[in-house]
Amino acid sequence: MNEKNTAIVEGAFKEYYFNRFDLIHVPPRAQEREFGYQKINSGMIRHLVARNDKELHLLLMREVPSDVYCSNAYYNFPNLPMSEKDWKGADLIFDIDAKDLGLSCRKEHILTKCVSCKNSMTDPKPSCEKCGSTKFETVSVACKNCISESKNEVKKLIEILTTDLGIKNEEIKVYFSGNEGFHVHIINNLYEPLGSHERADLADYLVFNGSIPESFGIKRQGISKPILPTVEEKGWRGRVAQTLFPSKSKAVKTSKEIITGGYSAFQLKLEEIRKTRGVHLDPKVTMDVHRIFRLEGSINSKSGLSKIHCTDLDSFDPFSEACLLGSDETEVLVNCPVAIKLKNKKFGPYKNEIISLPKYAAVYMICKGLANSV
């Protein structure tokens, strides 16, 4: 990011970090966690300790980071190098991101940007119309559908966590990630000591990955009559039955079809069920027990939006509720070929226009690489 853009973004972040202490808190057992941050155009600084809100606020004001992170893990010595930290356990975390959901809306709001001249366009072209370069990068801008589909995944996740895994609603906290998805944090003592392997298997459970037909009564060589799951059953057997037998009257017929279909056909069915009923989460995040994860209340520099707690997921609108930067007019040169909506105001499309935008929108455009300061 160039110097002038950095000045605008850092200025806006600084103002936020000065004014919104109410939103930025250390998580429980802060003294056992590792903190880290990044500044614009520079690397990650990790292995820090912030024992309480006051220490955290001081750090934010002093450094004005672009991104702030905190471990889900608990350590005896969080500020020592990785090998000496002495890992004690970690909260379960889940990352649901619209980019992983294979949504059809994405092609409408993913912009292609020329790497050399930063020209942005909606349709990918073989070479840049402006400078002829053939190197491109993509950027995704605000989309309501992406958020609503991500919310559905969060709901699927919470349903399995509470009914199958015995996690209570009050142990689950849902956050908007600050860009295009949600982070789900679980504070539950029983799951805390689990290592990476165990978490990978847990993630597979939620994703419905690795299921075998035998678990649902279909064997490779069936001599005995297969016992298919029923809708009354709990866990995945019940969910699979609900999908296989949506209507009670046709259940007998469907059962026969499944049994005659055989093993491989059922395997394909399970794969289809995974796509619809499995939770689309990023297993790498869940299985990483040493990660530093975006801190609640901090700003995501991919967008200028904040990672905030969603108390009512259904009504939550990140583009207004997590858009918390100031609204002073800021002049920028914008090239954004699609319209976006922030704080219930529509911005764009802009075609290389110098325009005065509220600071939150100007920063959003700069963070997405679609605007430059003038």
Binding site: L165, I167, Y191, L194, H197, E198, D201, L202, N209, G235
Partner: protein, 344 residues
């Protein structure tokens, strides 16, 4: 739901101790009977030493020591175990101790399973108590099923590589996993083996009777048979081949793929000098950065931690696994092409 793990002291009989001779109570029984090591050295006890030796030979050859409890000679069952672990401790060969421990764990597993199946009265109390006290796993009973908490299940089941043990293939509800008797005890086999192994390691022996020495020497000779593994193939596993191919084509290999390639080759004794050129076709190749990262992974710089090659399971979850039939039975790419030498 009922929890059969009550706090009452369970009185163990000699029959129980013959089945589970690794329990602390077995040592107490022996002490109470007034028998000591010196007396065991007497010729009268020779058959027990032979029985103990036989028990080790059977166990270390990969079998489970025969269930002799039916003969109702409980004392000699218990004593032969105690003598066996003394012989093993004296021989001090870890391979033998480990093999013995695992085999004895499997023997105990059979009894645990039997005891769990038999009608649900006192018989059930002992196996559940063993599972809870030794391994801290609470087993509850729900109808015909045994249920344990999901985290307790995961901690153990991840050591199994058959798909049926994946949580997704289990009945799970309300934080509990449903198991049958066989699965319940299978789950703790490894820990039981480790428990017995630790028990043997921690024996404090000053001197052993003369009559033991011959068999101790035999054990040392026996151990020579168990030489380590040999390579039957120098081929790379398919995941590593894939990573190399992607790089050769100049395509982008994700970080996790690069990590696999680097850790695999380092573990096979390749030097950083030999590995660096493999990355030169990567779209973002920078020799200095590559070298730095390889040094970091190899532990020669940075924290000094030497990173291990990721497991097959991890690679599967990262879509980097391209398993072929030769991959059967391995859990880490570095085991590819290795085969256990057949014991003569």
């Amino acid at each position: 739901m009922s929890n059969h793990n009550n706090e009452d002291v369970l009185k163990l009989g000699i029959e129980d101790l013959a089945k589970y001779p690794f329990l602390t109570e077995a040592g107490e029984y022996l002490r109470d009977s007034g028998l000591n090591l010196e007396q065991l050295g007497h010729d009268d006890w020779k058959p027990i030493i032979e029985k103990a030796y036989g028990r080790i030979v059977v166990a270390t050859s990969g079998h489970v020591y025969g269930i002799d409890v039916e003969k109702q000679d409980y004392d000699s069952e218990l004593l032969s175990f105690i003598v066996a672990i003394i012989l093993l401790k004296s021989a001090g060969v870890h391979t033998l101790t480990r093999r013995f421990s695992l085999s004895e764990a499997r023997r105990a597993e059979r009894y645990l399973q039997q005891d769990l199946r038999i009608n649900r009265d006192r018989n059930l109390e002992l196996p559940l108590k063993i599972i809870q006290e030794l391994f801290g796993v609470q087993v509850f009973i729900q109808g015909d099923d045994f249920v344990i908490k999901v985290p307790d299940y995961l901690k153990r089941a991840v050591n199994f590589h058959e798909k049926e043990w994946k949580l997704v293939n289990r009945r799970v509800s309300n934080g509990l996993v449903y198991l049958n008797a066989h699965e319940t005890v299978r789950l703790i086999r490894t820990e039981l083996g480790e428990y017995i192994n630790t028990k043997i390691q921690s024996i404090n022996l000053t001197e052993i009777p003369k009559s033991f020495k011959e068999r101790v020497n035999d054990l040392i000779t026996l151990a020579r048979k168990f030489s380590s593994t040999q390579y039957v193939s120098s081929e790379y596993p398919p995941c590593v081949k894939h990573a190399i191919e992607v790089l050769e084509k100049g395509e982008n290999l994700p970080h996790s793929g690069r990590f696999l390639l680097a850790t695999y080759l380092l573990s096979k004794g390749k030097s950083i000098e030999q590995i660096v050129p493999l990355f030169k076709n990567a779209p973002d190749y920078n020799e200095r950065v590559t070298r730095y990262q390889l040094e970091h992974i190899s532990g020669s710089s940075g924290s000094g931690t030497k990173y291990q090659c990721p497991s097959c399971e991890k690679l599967r979850s990262e879509n980097l696994c391209f398993a072929i039939p030769d991959c059967d039975g391995i859990i880490n790419p570095i085991q590819f092409g290795k085969k256990r030498k057949i014991i003569s």
